[in-house]
């Protein structure tokens, strides 16, 4: 009787031992699952972070084209137009007429037309443009390429494509082209406040 009881107890503890192992194995499995879930969560968090940072960078880079640049271009264009039609003190001739005279090698008011125009335009640009500039009149006829006159103010380096520059050009009779490049020190062109 006692022997049978012992045998029963032995079988019970063996069953319990098996159950414990199974439980431990399940626990380990659950622990692994939990760790995997945590890692997935971390990964998702990193992805969300990257998306947010990317979104902010995208918003910063995709800002619309700044309209002050367009306006400055229009301004330089209208200045060049005004300069060409400006009536000089020399026989009430316009700058445009004097440039044509310069191209033809004529003199105006007892002075070389090119030198007269250069002096006049230098004074005008000094009064109207705050930054650096380059003004030129060129002939671009076939087989005849010649710079008639050039006025430069380049205190902050060459006024070319390397700097923010605004170019305006106008075609005069006899294939004469005048060009004005303005290189202002960039700031908001619109002034606010009263």
């Amino acid at each position: 009787m006692i022997g049978a009881q012992d045998a029963g107890r032995g079988a019970g503890s063996a069953r319990r031992g098996e159950g414990g192992r199974e439980l431990r194995a399940r626990g380990r499995e659950r622990g692994r699952e939990k760790r995997a879930q945590e890692e997935m969560l971390g990964f998702a968090f990193v992805i969300v972070l990257v998306i947010i940072i990317g979104f902010v960078i995208l918003m910063l880079t995709l800002r619309g084209p700044s309209s002050p640049l367009e306006r400055e271009n229009t301004r330089v264009n209208s200045l060049l137009n005004s300069i060409t039609h400006f009536t000089t003190s020399c026989d009430k001739e316009s700058v445009q007429q004097l440039i044509i005279a310069c191209r033809n090698g004529e003199s105006s008011c007892g002075e070389d037309s090119c030198a007269f125009v250069k002096g006049e335009v230098t004074k005008i640009l000094g009064q109207t443009l705050a930054g650096d500039f380059r003004f030129s009149a060129e002939v671009t006829a076939e087989g005849e390429e010649q710079v008639l006159l050039e006025i430069k103010k380049e205190e902050n380096g060459e006024c070319s494509g390397k700097r923010t520059s605004f170019v305006a050009s106008s075609v005069l009779p006899r294939r004469t082209i005048i060009k004005l490049v303005s290189c202002p020190e960039m700031s908001a062109s619109a002034d606010s406040g009263e």
């Binding site: 137009n81 039609h85 009064q127 062109s189 009263e194």
Partner: protein
């Protein structure tokens, strides 16, 4: 036996507490992090809105600038030769229009000022800072034409404003065949939307 179970339970509950604290700390860090992101984003959005409002004001002023300088009431006639095709303003028309403030109010909504200045040759002597009025030496001894100024205290225009300018050719007819052109500047101002809440354009 019982003490072992009790010890195990205490150890387990301590582990649970540590885990809970860990979770709470992580949650707090997350809330703090997202809070910072939201603050930065809202500040960025605020700047963007302010920048856009400024841009809209400038666009409005730019559009008005083009419209006003192209007004037939100001533009040079064909008698000014090649100058008439460009941004050319007849100084006598300017004088006539400077007495018609109501016209600007009727035709252009949301304006705060319109002014034309002589730039080159610069006004000298008694002309410095003088408004242009008809006289024998017109338009020699003056500096600017005030075409329009919005009355202050009319509920709008008393605050800050955005103004834009552009160069114009300022021509004066001397005789039926003779005319002279100089370099001028047209300045158009619009009240800031943020300051006045006034909307509308031309």
């Amino acid at each position: 036996m019982h003490t072992n179970i009790l010890r195990n339970q205490i150890r387990k509950s301590k582990k649970g507490q540590v885990k809970m604290i860990e979770t709470i700390l992580v949650l707090l860090a997350l809330v703090f992090f997202f809070g910072i992101i939201i603050i930065f984003y809202s500040r960025f959005q605020l700047f963007e809105v302010q920048r856009l409002a400024q841009e809209v004001d400038e666009e409005r002023a730019s559009s008005l600038l083009g419209k006003i300088s192209g007004m037939p009431e100001l533009k040079c006639s064909v008698s000014f030769g090649s100058a008439s095709g460009t941004d050319c303003i007849d100084s006598y028309k300017l004088l006539a229009l400077s007495k018609q403030q109501a016209k600007f109010e009727e035709e252009f909504e949301g304006l705060s000022e319109v002014r034309v200045e002589r730039v080159y040759p610069p006004p000298s002597g008694a002309g410095i800072g003088q408004a242009c009025e008809f006289g024998n030496d017109y338009p020699e001894n003056c500096a600017y034409w005030q075409l329009y100024t919005r009355a202050r205290g009319a509920g709008q225009g008393a605050g800050s404003r955005t103004s834009l300018d552009s160069f114009v050719t300022l021509c004066t007819q001397r005789s039926s065949v003779l005319y002279e052109c100089e370099i001028g500047r047209i300045v158009v101002g619009v009240p800031d939307r943020g300051a006045t809440g006034a909307g509308g354009g031309a």
